[in-house]
């Protein structure tokens, strides 16, 4: 389905990331965030890159792995009420193109951030932990897993 078009998709959350222009918008959005951070005169280039990486990963964690269910009513009587957006993507089919894209994009951001921070130890620790928080929930083995019952209901 394409966003803004009449469709018969039961749960639009599953297909929204495949819609036309989503990936480009997402990439441009990350670019905008980075430009805004670079424009602030107090941040040096390494700090701006680390901040971009951390804020991007924080946003990705919250929207894809923390918030559950749908913001709209679905005709399937709430089948996805306890699932995060990542688990809802493509109805739970693993390793589709959207999932691959959103797995690779934080890794690319991590490479860029590591380069521009000149592999400084503090920045390295921050960027790596941030990357891990956003990569580990995406593993197929962790589909539907709630560690210590956090965020289960």
């Amino acid at each position: 389905m394409n966003v803004g078009v009449a469709h018969s998709e039961v749960n639009p959350n599953t297909r929204v990331m495949n819609s036309r222009g989503m990936w480009l918008t997402y990439a441009l959005g990350v670019g905008m965030l980075h430009i805004v951070l670079l424009s602030i005169p107090f941040f040096s280039v390494p700090v701006a890159w680390t901040l971009t990486n951390v804020i991007h990963n924080l946003g990705m964690y919250v929207f894809l792995h923390a918030v559950k269910g749908t913001p709209f009513e679905t005709p399937d009587q709430g089948k996805a009420r306890l699932l995060t957006h990542w688990e809802q993507l493509d109805y739970g089919v693993q390793c589709t193109s959207s999932r691959k894209f959103f797995t690779i994009s934080p890794i690319i951001l991590y490479f860029l951030a590591s380069f521009y921070t000149k592999y400084d130890p503090t920045h390295f620790i921050l960027n790596t932990t941030s990357l891990l928080t956003v990569l580990i929930p995406k593993l197929p083995q962790l589909h539907g897993v709630r560690i210590f019952g956090i965020n289960k209901y």
Partner: protein
């Protein structure tokens, strides 16, 4: 192989339709001539009609019929659309307003098919993972609504408040074991005012007490009790003298006392408004034909102008009940 061929040649299939004598009772129908009101003419004989839900006799009322015919001349027959797509007529809005005022609630919503009213109202609020406590003798429409809602159904014995309290207590202990799950689970009780399957009235005061004790929402299905119980015909809440705000949703059929077709739900605006987008029978079915809405409005007028008909109905019912008991 030769034997197989012979067997196949010999075999005579049984007739699809067995031979039936010409005077089989199923072939001779009883023919009804004339309108089926409280007197029905079967095979030329005039009989008292005990087979309809036309409690107040408004099906045959001249005022109701003329209102329907005037509406037919004005609007035609059907609405040719659901409520959201050019199917909302002024008579629908007027009927909703009149019903809300009559039942003394904030808002009412009209469905075009009585069965679909409660069958759409329940799944609009109760989803997967929610719990519904339902009487065993609930009518078929409620059962279909519960099936569509995909919720966990807990049946309690008919009109047995002790059984219901036992189920509620069990649910409470489970909730205490898992409070985070309990916080996202919605709980409902679905009861009928006057049960279609058994003819009993539900013990509403005890239900209200249980509602506030265990924090459950009540959906009351008043198809048979609307226009029958209560001093002014407002149903089982008026019958028991209960504040209408204690009931979260009242759903009723207009096909019984109100001598129309369709159904309505009434309650607080906050609750009823949700059904305007989530009530499947409201959004995805054509709206009520205007002539039936006009007939319902006229029937409501008659009910409001003559509140003594309810007492007459009840005294007649008691008379027949006593006479039938012998």
């Amino acid at each position: 192989v030769q034997e197989k061929e012979e067997l196949i040649e010999e075999w005579q299939p049984e007739p699809l339709v067995p031979p039936v004598p010409k005077d089989h009772p199923a072939l001779n129908y009883n023919v009804v001539s004339g309108p089926p009101t409280h007197i029905i003419t079967v095979n030329g004989k005039e009989c008292v009609n005990f087979a309809s839900f036309n409690f107040l006799g408004l099906l045959d009322n001249e005022k109701v019929k003329s209102a329907a015919q005037a509406s037919l001349k004005k609007y035609g027959v059907g609405t040719c659309g659901p409520r959201g797509f050019y199917g909302t007529f002024d008579v629908h809005l007027e009927l909703e307003e009149r019903l809300a005022k009559f039942m003394r609630t904030e808002e009412a919503i009209i469905y075009s098919y009585g069965f679909a009213t409660i069958a759409s109202a329940i799944p609009a609020y109760s989803k997967r993972g929610d719990i519904v406590f339902v009487d065993e003798a609930a009518c078929f429409a409620i059962q279909k609504g519960l099936q569509a809602s995909r919720s966990n159904i807990k049946l309690f014995k008919h009109n047995d408040m002790a059984d219901l309290e036992r189920l509620l207590k069990e649910q409470e202990t489970e909730d205490q074991k898992n409070p985070r799950k309990a916080r996202v689970t919605r709980r409902f009780i679905v009861v009928e005012g006057l049960y279609m399957n058994t003819g009993d009235i539900c013990p509403l005061p005890e239900l209200i007490k249980l509602k506030y004790k265990y924090k459950v929402r009540i959906f009351l299905e008043e198809s048979l009790s609307f226009g029958v119980l209560g001093e002014h015909g407002r149903g089982v809440t008026e019958h028991f003298g209960i504040n209408i705000d204690d009931i979260d949703l009242i759903s009723a059929n207009m096909e019984n006392s109100l001598a129309s077709i369709g159904g309505f739900c009434c309650g607080r605006s906050f609750i009823i408004d949700h059904q305007r987008l989530s009530g499947q029978g409201y959004c995805f079915s054509a709206s009520l034909p205007p002539l039936l809405a006009a007939a319902a409005i006229e029937a409501l007028n008659i009910m409001e102008d003559n509140p003594e008909i309810f007492q007459t109905l009840r005294s007649k019912c008691e008379r027949i009940h006593k006479a039938l008991q012998g």
